[in-house]
């Protein structure tokens, strides 16, 4: 497609991998330099396109993990078994390699400090990624919007951004972990899946009119939204990003 001046027209462009960060055994952050990147808002994503030698193309969406930072864009990718795109991104790409991407995309599942709070973020597994962009954007702006993150992972080793979340806690940010499958010795936080009782304990009350962002596998997001509505929260204040049965 030719470049056009039409506002919002998306174009594929080449992005160069500049850095790889291992986050957990199955998750890596890959940082790209994207020439002419116009900046993005926390919660937006990019589409990534891979083309095989025979011309076959595969396209996937990945949430942006980083706060706006010039032409650098970080994606955090979970390697899916039998995945068509994620194993290439996490295992094959090396610094200096280029891939095609387009973005930033989306305007609904976004948050900026000016929108205020209180903010309640609920993440299941790699659903933390767009919510981390919100937390990083908030921190980079020196914003102190009351923010609570309820983050469900299988085990402590599967917690993405664990150290950074601990470092950013305070100044209005509270992080609560739930570990569903296994817990380290002495674990005192939640050791089960997110349910309505847990949401009632962690989320601000409906009277405070919190804004919700929930991201994770579809069954996780369904459990969260169902629980929140039963607790009396406004369905219109709950924004969701479901990524299907297995993650992406």
């Amino acid at each position: 497609m030719a470049r056009t001046a039409l506002r919002g027209r998306l174009t594929w462009q080449l992005a160069e991998l500049v850095e790889i960060v291992a986050e957990t055994p199955r998750v890596k952050t890959i940082v790209f330099d994207v020439p002419g990147w116009p900046g993005h808002r926390a919660g937006q994503h990019v589409d990534v396109r891979l083309t095989a030698e025979d011309g076959y193309q595969a396209e996937r969406s990945y949430s942006i993990a980083s706060a706006p930072d010039g032409t650098r864009v970080a994606l955090t990718v979970q390697r899916l078994k039998d995945g068509e795109v994620s194993p290439y991104l996490t295992d094959e790409l090396r610094p200096g390699d280029k891939i095609e991407l387009r973005g930033p995309i989306g305007g609904y599942f976004v948050w900026e400090p000016a929108e205020g709070g209180p903010l309640m973020l609920v993440a299941g597994g790699s659903g933390i990624v767009p919510l981390m962009a919100m937390i990083r954007t908030r921190a980079a702006a020196g914003d102190d919007t009351e923010t609570r993150l309820l983050y469900s992972s299988r085990s402590q080793d599967d917690v993405i951004y664990r150290d950074e979340l601990e470092r950013l806690s305070g100044n209005g940010l509270t992080v609560v972990h739930a570990l569903t499958d296994s817990q380290p010795p002495g674990w005192t936080s939640y050791a089960r899946r997110v349910d309505a009782e847990m949401l009632a304990e962690v989320a601000p009350s409906p009277a405070k009119q919190p804004r919700f962002y929930a991201c994770g596998p579809t069954p996780f997001v369904e459990a969260v939204t169902g629980g929140l509505v039963r607790l009396g929260h406004d369905p219109l204040a709950i924004k969701t990003e479901r990524f299907g049965p297995t993650g992406r």
Binding site: R7, L10, S61, F109
Partner: protein
């Protein structure tokens, strides 16, 4: 509950490719129940094509089929679409 259900966010890139504006914040009104809400919040199912359903009444809002060079959109379930320009 269908584990394959996604949100309007999931097809934001495709919609922007077609309409050349950000579409997940556009407000769609369901042709059956009349509920109005952002496109980013509709339910999306991906198979051979893409089906958009009303999150309130499950009405089929739109069906989208794409190949390498064209997109076909059946919009009959949507009453109105309000887009910022």
């Amino acid at each position: 509950m269908d584990e394959l259900m996604l949100d309007g966010n999931a097809i934001a890139g495709l919609l922007q490719e077609v309409f050349a504006v950000e579409m997940t914040t556009a407000i769609g009104t369901c042709g059956r129940c009349g509920a109005a809400g952002p496109v980013g919040a509709v339910h999306v199912y991906r198979g051979a094509g893409i089906v958009l359903r009303c999150p309130h009444c499950d009405n089929t809002l739109a069906k989208i089929v794409k190949n390498d060079s064209r997109v076909w959109i059946d919009f009959r379930g949507i009453q109105t679409l309000e887009v910022a320009i």
